[in-house]
Amino acid sequence: MTAIDVPPAVPIAPVRVSLFRRLVKKPLGVVSALFLVLVAAIAIVGPLIAPQDPNYADIRSVLAGPSGAHLLGTDGSGRDVLSRLLAATQTSVAAALIAVVVAVVLGVVSGLIAGYYQGWFNTVATWVTELNMALPGIVVLLAARAVLGPSVWISMFIFGILLAPAFFRLVYAAVTAVRGELYVDAARVSGLGDGRIIGRHVLAVVRAPIIIQGAIISGIALAIQSGLEFLGLGDVNVPTWGSMLTDGFKNIYKTPVLMIWPSLAIALTCIALTLLANVMRDELERTVSVRRKRRRAVTTATGSIAAVTTSVATGGGEPIEDLDELPVIEGAGVTIHREDARSKATEKVLEIRDLRVGYDQPDGSHIEVVHGVSLDVRTGEVHGLIGESGSGKTQTAFGVLGLLPRGGRVTDGSIRYAGIELADASDRVYAGVRGKRIGYIPQEPMSNLDPSFTIGSQLVEPLRTTLGLSKKDATERSLDLLARVGIPQPKRTFDAYPFEVSGGMAQRVLIAGAVSTDPELIIADEPTTALDVTVQAEVLDLLRDLQAEHHMAMLLVTHNFGVVADLCDRVTVMQNGRFVEQGPVRAIFNDARHPYTRALLDAILDEGPARPALATKGANA
């Protein structure tokens, strides 16, 4: 019934670990596999162990109930149901297998050729797939049957051709991906023939996905084959699950139980195949994500100053690996510098005390990423929160905003904003605060604008919600804001979609959005990191101007001491979820106490000599 809709989303990954070995650890996988083995065994020996001739019709005992002679009773023609069921297994399974084998052979071979050599073959294959999608599979099979006659085998052969694109797409995608890999180039340079490369590198990659897809396709083939037989389009002399179902359906009023046996056989086999495919896919995906994570950790560790990747920062469900790459000076404690003469003694807008942020893991455990951070942001002051990736600075910022990724929450401590307690607060508490009195400027401009809506509507919608403005007023205000943040043609940008403007423009739009409600506090998360160097300076200027103009307080998250020097009044340095040093910006620059702060300071002396020591340390991870 589900004609040829094959889920294409089987993960492709270089998996050499035996899928089978890990499969047996999953109870669902074991049960499904055992059931399928049983079906396969019956398919082989079924006709031999059948107590009677499956086609022998005893007209004297039609529709008889279960008895010693007929364990499952007899059907509408007086044939033994058990014998038919056993014999039918062979035909049904074999017919489904034909379709799968044809599909695998055609799909894999054509996928390898098209993917490896590309060119015209590619175009043809795409067209065939398109054609294939234009007709329900069963209609094609019916048409074929009209000319070729009633044969299960021919029907299933044709169905195999129809199913081939499922494998073609899989192999094609894998080959295209592998073709570009360096090790394949290396293999070619070292003189390996195309055949060897395909066999060694490409087939190894797609083997597991093909098995998974094969399980799904077998279920579909079995379903279609039973459907055709059920419609009475098969050969009447060959017992199949589908034809047994037809007989049961004819007698549905008299002996509905006749329908149960073939239905169970079909349904259970299909479910077992799908379950098995699902368990295998889950296992495969797990392997892929672990590998990706490791690779990412290695590249970033070697690429930036001892960057530490935590999977938690991206909201992933896996536990964090490497958290102590850097020299953590235990017992050194927190250095808090005294206020100097130029410190602003204005009132505190934001007071964070002993903030802890953690993530609940799927396995019930809990991982803490911010371990008790305290800081104050005063009216009109820019407070820099500095640290490398994974130091917990962004987690702290999201904790204040109440916008932690899935599974994350503020577990302890307090966040007081103008007398309101925001720690782990509900959306109701945040209403009227977030987006109205606290604005947020994100890091990556392009991904922070909804690609499906115009820039204007993304400015107008929040203004109408938070300030209750009319559409006209909100539009006017948005246009003024766009002009204020330095966008040359505000109307044009207002009507544009995010993908039609540059990154620098998009960041200006996001800044306009953040300040649109005249908030008392802005939380800016690395607002210039994703921009070109020239644009960075302009955006920093804009932020400074806006901050002074509106006398806003700002919590500026950054990893760059250059930005801190440029903009901040006070700094908190974070490392591994703790704050290690805090104080007025001049005190930190002149008298950094913590080795980590000093390392960060050295890093702004463009690629300075302090770098190698830390970088090698991180790269050893």
């Binding site: 048409a143 329908m259 947020y440």
Partner: protein, 313 residues
């Protein structure tokens, strides 16, 4: 936008033309065998030859196809070899019946899949588990088995609906609803399962996007962000899956119509296939292909409405 529509339309026309050619070659290449099958094993060689000539099957295949195309574009798809009825009349008479079931199932599954998918993505936990389990079973179990059990339970044991038969909506609206309910449910379950799984996945994906956090940081509630922004962005992949499901539903209708004795295109397909009534089979293939092309065009338009990138390119 207009050029986008025209381009899609043109590729649809080409597709139907290619299908008609392939189907014609497949169906008519048999030549003399076709006449023999109609007349039966006992017919003499002479009568077979006469019949072959009468049906024009002795002429070159390409010439036959040319004739078929020239009349087809005027809406004449020939006559049934068995009943003599005009193919266009018998197909179009059954079109409405099949479409009412298939479109009904498409709409029902689209709505329920979105509700279930969003629910599973948002709530997680037990609801998510239940939806995922149902998706799996709905995907795995063939639709006609579900149909058979619906008949067994709701028509035969409980007697809530009639097991078979079709009441045209022009005769009685309530009768029509009663007669299409079980077929639509039977057809929808598989599609709901597949589309709901897709909706769940793309909603979870869209919800983790940066712009969702940014929109919420501007003071928008989770609910309005989900219903306006997340669903719109998750809609594209879900629609693509729905388009594939529609083809599956058309195929499913063939079997379901047989079970519920509904006089639609599926029933006609099965009957004319068993008889070997080639002109009718040919007409049905074209009708199915045209329906799929039109629905795909509509889905492309919906994609363009949802996604400005499609619209502006």
């Amino acid at each position: 936008m207009l050029s986008f529509i025209l381009r899609r339309l043109a590729s649809g026309v080409v597709l139907v033309a290619v299908i008609s050619f392939l189907a014609f070659v497949l169906l008519y290449a048999g030549g003399g065998d076709i006449a023999r099958r109609i007349l039966g094993e006992n017919a003499t060689a002479e009568t077979v030859a006469k019949k072959t000539e009468e049906l024009g099957l002795n002429r070159p295949l390409l010439a036959q196809y040319g004739d078929w195309v020239t009349s087809a574009v005027t809406g004449d798809l020939g006559r049934s070899w068995f009943t003599g009825e005009l193919v266009s009349v018998s197909v179009s008479g059954r079109l409405a019946v099949t479409l009412s079931i298939v479109l009904g199932a498409t709409i029902v599954s689209a709505i329920l899949a979105v509700v279930l998918g969003v629910l599973a993505a948002r709530r997680g936990g037990i609801i998510d588990g239940a939806v995922q389990f149902l998706s799996l079973v709905g995907f795995a179990v063939p639709g006609f088995l579900i149909a058979l059990f619906l008949v067994l339970i709701f028509a035969i044991n409980l007697g809530w609906f009639k097991a078979t038969g079709y009441v045209p909506i022009t005769t009685s609206a309530t009768g029509w609803i009663a007669s299409v309910t079980l077929p639509v449910v039977a057809l929808s379950l598989g599609a709901i399962a597949t589309v709901a799984a897709q909706v769940r996945g793309s909603v979870i994906d869209a919800m983790s996007r940066d712009y969702v956090r940014t929109l919420r940081s501007r003071g928008l509630g989770m609910r309005s962000v989900i219903y306006k922004h997340v669903l719109r962005n998750a809609g594209g992949p879900a629609l693509a899956v729905l388009a594939v499901q529609f083809v599956g539903l058309l195929g499913g209708a063939v079997v379901v119509e047989q079970i519920f004795a509904i006089p639609g295109m599926g029933q006609l397909s099965v009957r004319s296939t068993t008889l070997g009534d080639v002109p009718v089979v040919m007409g049905l293939v074209i009708a199915f292909a045209i329906i799929v092309v039109i629905v795909n065009l509509l889905i492309d338009l919906a994609q363009a409405a949802l996604n400005p990138k499609v619209r502006l390119s």
